[in-house]
């Protein structure tokens, strides 16, 4: 056991405070920057205390207007990001649950081949298969659409694998008891497996929501229309390639702060479930 000693306590706190500062300081700076006029930020040294332009910066960022009128409003991007992340997270959970159910509970020809085929895709990140995927999506006319943004990211070996492992720990007797009770396979899935997987689903939802929210490369390829930009891409667009006009860092930072909020909310709200899903199994 660790002894309670004053010096040790101080040391532990010092390390933790240092850690918090390391992580939190850039975020704080971003927040500070978002409350100043753009010309104040680029001055040296940059201000370290929040300024007085909080509301107007965020309003401009969210709903557009101001000088750079051609800049798309962040509100629209947030909606796109949110829908994309939700569809990816929920889609992944649904597909993975079903495929894991099939692989674990049914004996069909080439069952093991199917499982290993799914498993091998684990080794291939999106980036590796990005060209063929782009070609398929483009040929199907899914560029600049939610379908194009989400569908290629939904198929997931990780989640299938996770649910498969979970289903393998569910005692066979439960399936047999359900069969004796007259439950059809889908009924067993709906009434017993899905409720038992709730915690794993919650954990997966958090991870996949953030994964979907943070997508950068794929949206960059499939969206050319600013209306379909997710917020991560929007930040990049704001930093501009034109080079003529000054980058409005206050708006960029405001957008970055806002882009962080939804994943943070998801984590905070689902934290209890999330931790439960990762550590314990309710059996």
């Amino acid at each position: 056991m660790v002894e309670r000693r004053a010096t040790l306590g101080i040391l532990a706190h010092a390390v933790m405070i240092l850690g918090v500062l390391l992580v939190a300081f850039p975020i704080y700076l971003a927040f500070v920057a978002s409350t100043h006029q753009p010309q104040d930020i680029v001055q040296s040294p940059m201000p370290l205390w929040p300024g007085s332009h909080l509301w107007e910066t965020y309003r401009t960022a969210l709903f557009g207007g101001g000088e750079g009128a051609e800049r798309p409003p962040v509100a629209r991007m947030m909606v796109v990001s949110f829908i994309t992340a939700m569809v990816i997270a929920l889609g992944k959970i649904t597909i993975s649950l079903l495929s894991a159910f099939a692989v674990v509970y049914f004996r069909f020809p080439l069952r093991n081949l199917c499982f290993w085929a799914i498993f091998i895709t684990l080794m291939l990140p999106v980036e590796v298969r990005i060209l063929p995927t782009y070609k398929v999506v483009a040929d199907l006319g899914m560029l600049n659409s939610y379908a194009g943004l989400t569908v290629p990211l939904i198929a997931s070996a990780t989640a299938t694998f996770l649910f498969r492992q979970f289903f393998l720990t569910v005692p066979d007797e439960l399936a047999e008891a359900a069969r004796m009770d007259g439950a059809s396979p889908m009924r067993f899935f709906k009434d017993i497996l899905v409720p038992l997987s709730r915690t794993s689903m919650a954990a997966l939802f958090v991870i996949q929501f953030i994964y979907g929210w943070n997508q950068y490369l794929w949206p960059l390829l499939v969206t050319t229309n600013q209306d379909m930009y997710p917020v991560v891409l929007g930040i990049r667009a704001m930093m501009g390639g034109s080079g003529e006009s000054m980058v409005e860092w206050n708006l960029v930072m405001a957008t970055a702060i806002m882009a962080m909020v939804p994943p943070a909310i998801v984590v905070v709200l689902m934290q209890k479930w999330f931790v439960k899903g990762l550590v314990d199994t309710e059996k």
Binding site: P171, E173, L174, E176, A177, A178, R179, M180, D181, G182, A183, R187, D191, I192, P195, L196, R198, E282, K283
Partner: protein, 336 residues
């Protein structure tokens, strides 16, 4: 309620030459309302046999009929049976009430009728105050009762029990054994009960099936099985301590094995010379371990009788009318 017929039932795993046969042609006629215990050592195929009656395992050969209907190709849910599993298999996320009601809900029984059936079963099993709890909040004994409740609610023709008592402690096991007996008397439903515990088998069974290596060694009442074991396997499996089996003892016949239960040997009467190796006190009785010639022998005597001294030689005599004879090669019983 229904009778059960097993007709030359076999079970094979795998195909063709590499198939492993685990049940070798078991035949038995079980009467309506009987309580049958299937007993045997682990791996003898007793659970497989039960699961074939349940419909959880396919039948490789022969027929199983429940009532007058052959059920080889009938889904478990349509066989009108209910099963209690060894680890109870309660649905962990459902309350006790929902667990018991699940089968009826699937059959689309009206809600008030479900309520009535569950309440009735809960009353029989004294589960009324636990209906809203989740299985993880229950003790082992209570879970066991819920598992039985789930079976009762469906009003099946046949109950199947797969070692339902093996996860309980000794005291609770004895108590639950009595409850199961009481339940069977009240409901009179044909029951098949699988166990590896010969005490459970002897106390619960109206008739018992003793299995070994996928074959039925004997099918009879506990008295028959105890007093007229059909083979050396049954003789040594049923009864504790097991029957003494002597191949070359005094008065040995050629090609035959003599069997004598420890309580059917009298100390003092002139007969065999027995060297005493050890004496155990079990409370009301004593077990004397020793040898006659080269063969080990166990004698059971009353606690009040004088205890033989370790290392001495004493005289024991078998009661002639209690001696069993078995064929040494086949193990089958010779005398009627």
């Amino acid at each position: 309620m229904a009778s059960i017929s097993l007709r030359k039932v076999t079970k094979r795993y795998g195909k063709d030459a590499r198939a492993v046969q685990v049940i070798h042609g078991v035949s038995a006629e079980i009467q309506d309302g009987e309580f049958i215990v299937i007993v045997g050592p682990s791996g003898c195929g007793k659970s497989t046999l039960l699961r074939m009656v349940a419909g959880l395992e396919e039948i490789s050969g022969g027929e199983i009929a429940i009532g007058d209907k052959v059920v080889n190709d009938v889904e478990p849910a349509q066989r009108d049976i209910a099963m209690v599993f060894q680890n109870y298999a309660l649905y962990p996320h459902m309350s006790v009430f929902e667990n018991m009601a699940y089968g009826l809900r699937i059959k689309n029984v009206p809600t008030d009728q479900i309520r009535a059936s569950v309440d009735k079963a809960a009353k029989i099993l004294e589960l009324g105050h636990l209906l809203e709890r989740k299985p993880r909040e229950l003790s082992g004994g209570q879970r066991q009762r819920v598992a039985m409740g789930r079976a009762i609610v469906r009003q099946p023709k046949v109950f199947l029990f797969d070692e339902p008592l093996s996860n309980l402690d000794a005291k609770l096991r004895a108590q639950t054994r009595l409850e199961i007996q009481k339940l069977h008397q009240e409901l009179g439903i044909t029951s098949l009960f699988v166990t590896h515990d010969q005490v459970e088998a002897m106390t619960l069974a109206q008739r018992m099936i003793v299995m070994n290596g996928g074959m039925m060694e004997q099918f009879g009442t506990p008295e028959e099985v105890y007093h007229q074991p059909a083979s050396t396997f049954v003789a040594s499996f049923i009864g504790s301590p097991p029957m003494n089996l002597l191949k070359n003892g005094p008065g040995a016949r050629k090609g035959a094995t003599m069997g004598i239960r420890p309580e059917h040997l009298d100390i003092g009467a002139t007969g065999w010379d027995m060297q005493v190796d050890n004496v155990e006190l079990l409370g009301a009785e004593r077990l004397v371990y020793g040898r006659v010639g080269s063969e080990p022998l166990i004698v059971r005597i009353e606690e009040s009788a004088p205890s033989p001294v370790r290392g001495t030689t004493i005289q024991v005599a078998p009661r002639e009318d209690r001696v069993h004879w078995f064929d040494t090669t086949s193990g089958k019983r010779l005398n009627a």
